[in-house]
């Protein structure tokens, strides 16, 4: 049970509309789960997610490990594990050279909010405007931080397990991250319904599976991320990469992506 009663303070119609929208997101989530099956011939099998980390964590994920770590910084939808599906394996390579692939635990029971849908984005903004702290949050120099806290509260109020959204950062040439890709912010919960921290229970069998040759640096003031090598001067060959990553994961191999 959620400790916060914020949803009870919303205008009733808004609360009803958000709950309805979350219900309507089920097919989108089912489609995502299906698109990212580990074995595309086994619909009842697990699906795979990808998260990139800096190379100093490579050793951690080449042996038994505690899994994916929950981020608490000012990420797009707040606290959570940020991943993509294995079908878009390069999409978040801008965040590290080490691609960790992991199985998604029990996704059929996840509650989804599909923020790729403009109608749902609009609902979130209505919710935001209904918050009593919204005027102060948006007018302070610390808006970035405060608005992320409000996104956490939104996810807690409606116990949203996963937010689907389009990328809001990309590599400068657009070789790795495509605007139509789907990124996930995944929630872990405490027993009282708050977003939790530490290692996520949402994924299992995490291991280093993709190794990116290039490296990306956030250009000051971090509005863009540039490749540091760009050896070939073009996008890495990626047509077979989803299949290659699945095969590498199954075999315990590492799939290398040339710059």
């Amino acid at each position: 049970m959620a400790v916060g009663m914020g949803a009870a303070l919303l205008p009733r119609a808004l609360s009803t509309n958000i709950r309805g929208a979350i219900e309507d997101c089920r097919p989108a989530w089912s489609q995502f789960v299906s698109d990212n099956l580990e074995d595309r011939g086994s619909p009842a099998g697990p699906s795979l997610a990808v998260k990139y980390v800096p190379s100093r964590f490579a050793a951690t994920y080449r042996s038994p490990n505690p899994g994916l770590f929950i981020g608490s910084s000012n990420f797009t939808w707040g606290r959570g594990v940020y991943v993509t599906g294995v079908q878009e394996p390069l999409s978040t390579a801008i965040y590290g050279r080490i691609g960790i692939v992991a199985r998604i635990n029990d996704p059929a029971n996840w509650t989804c909010f599909d923020a790729r849908d403009p109608a749902n984005e609009a609902l979130y903004l209505q919710w935001l405007h209904a918050q009593v702290d919204y005027p102060e949050a948006v007018l302070t120099v610390h808006s970035d931080h405060w608005l992320h806290q409000l996104r956490n509260l939104f996810r807690e109020q409606f116990q949203i397990d996963v937010v689907l959204f389009h990328p809001d950062e990309a590599d400068l040439p657009g070789w790795y991250t495509r605007p139509i890709d789907t990124w996930l912010a995944v929630s872990d919960w405490t027993s009282t319904g708050l977003l939790s921290s530490g290692y996520s229970g949402r994924f299992s069998d995490a291991r280093l599976t993709i190794l990116i040759e290039d490296e990306f640096v956030a250009d000051k003031p971090a509005l863009t991320r540039s490749p540091q090598l760009a050896v070939s001067g073009k996008a890495p060959a990626s047509a077979t990469l989803p299949a290659d990553a699945r095969t590498a994961y199954a075999r315990g191999d590492v799939c290398r992506v040339e710059s």
Partner: protein
């Protein structure tokens, strides 16, 4: 003396960088005495200079996330220094108390009255509600967090024997009317249904 002097450098790094936060998490979980000392050990007044207020906020939330307790010394320090700091830092500080599992358990157990509480969070909430000059700001954050500990704070505000209580009551009544809130909710604020 607590572990703060030896851990301060790691806490600073972890507060600033997600990857160092993972390192700190791993390090303390490999060392149960260190974990226990950091998340439940009392902080001494003489140690407050080891971290900045922002870092204390991060550390207090980190302790809480790992199942640790609120520390009265940290709360008093933050209450004092954040009074003249940024609005966002006070929002964070109030969240620390109003989202605290122990404070919410204690507040939910005595939902209809004020009284003497042993819970560190509720003691801090009561002190803050009585002493912070802008009661409407406290009330807004409490409504934003909307927890039993937040309602406890609002009941302190609405029970004050001065004009601040009238201000807060008036604002809460407007919110309740605009949103057609259930009397069950406004009852938790100490307003007559």
């Amino acid at each position: 003396m607590s572990l703060i002097p030896v851990a301060a450098a790691f806490i600073r790094q972890a507060a600033d960088d997600e990857n160092y936060a993972q390192n700190l998490h791993d390090a303390v979980h490999e060392n149960p005495p260190a974990l226990h000392g950091l998340i439940d050990g009392p902080v001494d007044e003489t140690e407050l200079g080891w971290l900045s207020p922002s870092e204390w906020l991060w550390f207090a939330r980190w302790r809480q996330d790992l199942g640790g307790t609120l520390d009265p010394q940290i709360l008093s320090h933050l209450d004092l220094v954040l009074a003249t700091a940024s609005r966002a830092s006070r929002f964070e500080f109030r969240g620390l108390i109003m989202r605290d599992p122990g404070a919410n358990l204690a507040a939910a157990g005595a939902i209809s009255r004020l009284g003497q509480y042993e819970d560190v969070g509720l003691q801090a909430a009561e002190r803050h509600a009585r002493n912070f000059p802008d009661s409407l700001e406290v009330a807004r954050d409490a409504v934003q967090y909307a927890t039993p500990a937040a309602w406890f704070t609002i009941r302190v505000l609405t029970s004050l024997d001065d004009r601040r209580a009238r201000q807060v009551r008036g604002w809460l009544e407007r919110i309740a009317a605009q949103r057609q809130l259930d009397p069950e909710v406004t009852g938790l604020w100490g307003l007559q249904s």
